[in-house]
Symmetry: C2
Subunit: 281 residues, 2 copies
């Protein structure tokens, strides 16, 4: 109010909280849907419901962008779509390269969501010579050797890594060296990049494990006791540690309850620590 939004109260450019940025795409999607139905305006309440968030949170989020609503009425859909798009930088064209054209890479290449929001697949790159030239999603796959050239020619600043874990860091380094400053990583590895480069990761395995955790917790609650406490700490890590000896089998200590599946496959090995996010191509 006082400041209203006169001279971008500093809350502006640098201000938008990360959490808010992460939700803008969500609002944008909901708004786009409304726009297609020719809905002229929406209240924070309605839009919040559509986006699956709290209305107060939504209003606060929008407040970081400026005062784009009208009290007593709501927000103008079209206008808001434009404002958010602009804020997210979707009004410009973002050429993207996808490295690693395995199952996942191909799926990404075909993903319609790319093109629909200002993202353009500038090239598909794979290390397998057999893939070179092969068309995927209408685009001919190019060999890794061309990577630097492709990045430069197309002014690519966003790269998507869908290679096996083992190749991810190397690919990442090359992308960064070539000028890419934002990376979306699908490989199950922690990438190290220099300052100034953003990395976001999407990890299937992790998501499933988190679900498993909650699932287990739910199951435990239902049936009387999670027991946890029992084996919790008492399991005397003291003797189990034996550094030099490195007790070969850690399993024996906590008998724990018999798992439903009983499949104590625990000892899986996976040749490379963690399986690639996608087939090696």
């Amino acid at each position: 109010m006082a400041t209203g939004r006169t001279h971008r109260p500093a809350t502006r450019s640098r201000g938008i909280p990360e959490a808010t940025v992460a939700r803008l795409p969500l609002y944008l999607r909901a708004l786009t849907a409304l726009s297609e139905r020719s809905v002229p305006t929406v209240s924070s309440e309605e839009l919040a419901a559509a986006a699956g968030v709290n209305s107060a949170k939504l209003r606060k989020d929008f407040s970081y962008l400026g005062s784009y609503g009208t009290r007593g009425v709501g927000y103008d859909v079209e206008y808001l779509v434009y404002q958010i798009s602009r804020e997210l930088g979707l009004t410009q064209d973002w050429p993207v390269v996808i490295v690693g054209i395995g199952n996942l890479g191909a799926a990404l290449a075909n993903y319609g969501g790319f093109a629909s929001r200002g993202f353009r697949v500038a090239a598909l790159i794979d290390a397998d010579p057999a893939m070179t030239g092969k068309p995927v999603a209408g685009i001919a796959v190019q060999h890794t050797d061309e990577l630097e050239q492709i990045i430069a020619d197309n002014g690519v600043s966003i790269g998507v890594i869908a290679t096996p874990a083992g190749a991810a860091q190397q690919v990442c380094d090359r992308l960064v060296a070539a000028g890419v400053t934002s990376i979306l990583n699908f490989a199950p590895t922690v990438l190290s990049v220099p300052d100034g480069v953003d990395v976001r990761k999407v990890d299937l395995s992790i998501e499933l494990q988190i679900l498993a955790f909650h699932e287990q917790r739910k199951a435990g609650e239902e049936t009387g006791t999670p027991d946890e406490a029992a084996s919790a700490q008492s399991a005397a890590p003291a003797d189990a540690i034996t550094p030099g000896a490195a007790a070969a089998a850690p399993a024996p200590l906590a008998p724990h309850r018999a798992a439903p599946g009983a499949g104590t496959d625990n000892g899986r090995q996976g040749p490379d620590g963690d399986v690639p996010a996608v087939m090696p191509a």
Copy 2:
């Protein structure tokens, strides 16, 4: 109702912070790698580096699980692998169904990370009759009609949705009705589920948009704050939509911005609000 379910009241005595749970899989991966190299023990500092987190944070995270370390030495790798696996519920078998066998669904089915951590693909389901019986990743695709039966027969409690956005909610409802209580959603839609059901979403488009935002900001800083204050406020929402403004602001930044001269592009269409996460099968 609402998008329901997110965090519980937190009254949980055995309450491991959500943020910690989300990192456990990360630690587990790093530990598994060490285990394969037969490294007996590791310090919080080393492990933290491998997992890409702060060592203090790692120690605090582990403290929620109990005191599994030895001062002056570090943590016993094997023992910790076991403890975390147990905590995450990975010592048991989790049958999973994947619904929507398009490009993405197929990629997921082939994803090695599934089997390697106690997750077992119990079935692949698709609505397209043409897909039925077709083997994907060594498993015959089954028709949606069988969904309920499959869930029941296999005791599935985790479902993965990789269908187009339009079918997601319906599939979700059926999964939940059939007994699934955890869902990993790849479709670009907000799913509403009853309380007690957990939903985690993986949204490609959103990740890219977030990257674009930062990318834009970075570009803007380089050249000297573009600052879109231009079309800032009141400008009658109605006509303001005409993105003539676009030209004014972010022009000089993007290295490429091959955007069509006619900034009017803004209205990129995207017929269905948001394209499916994967090709329709």
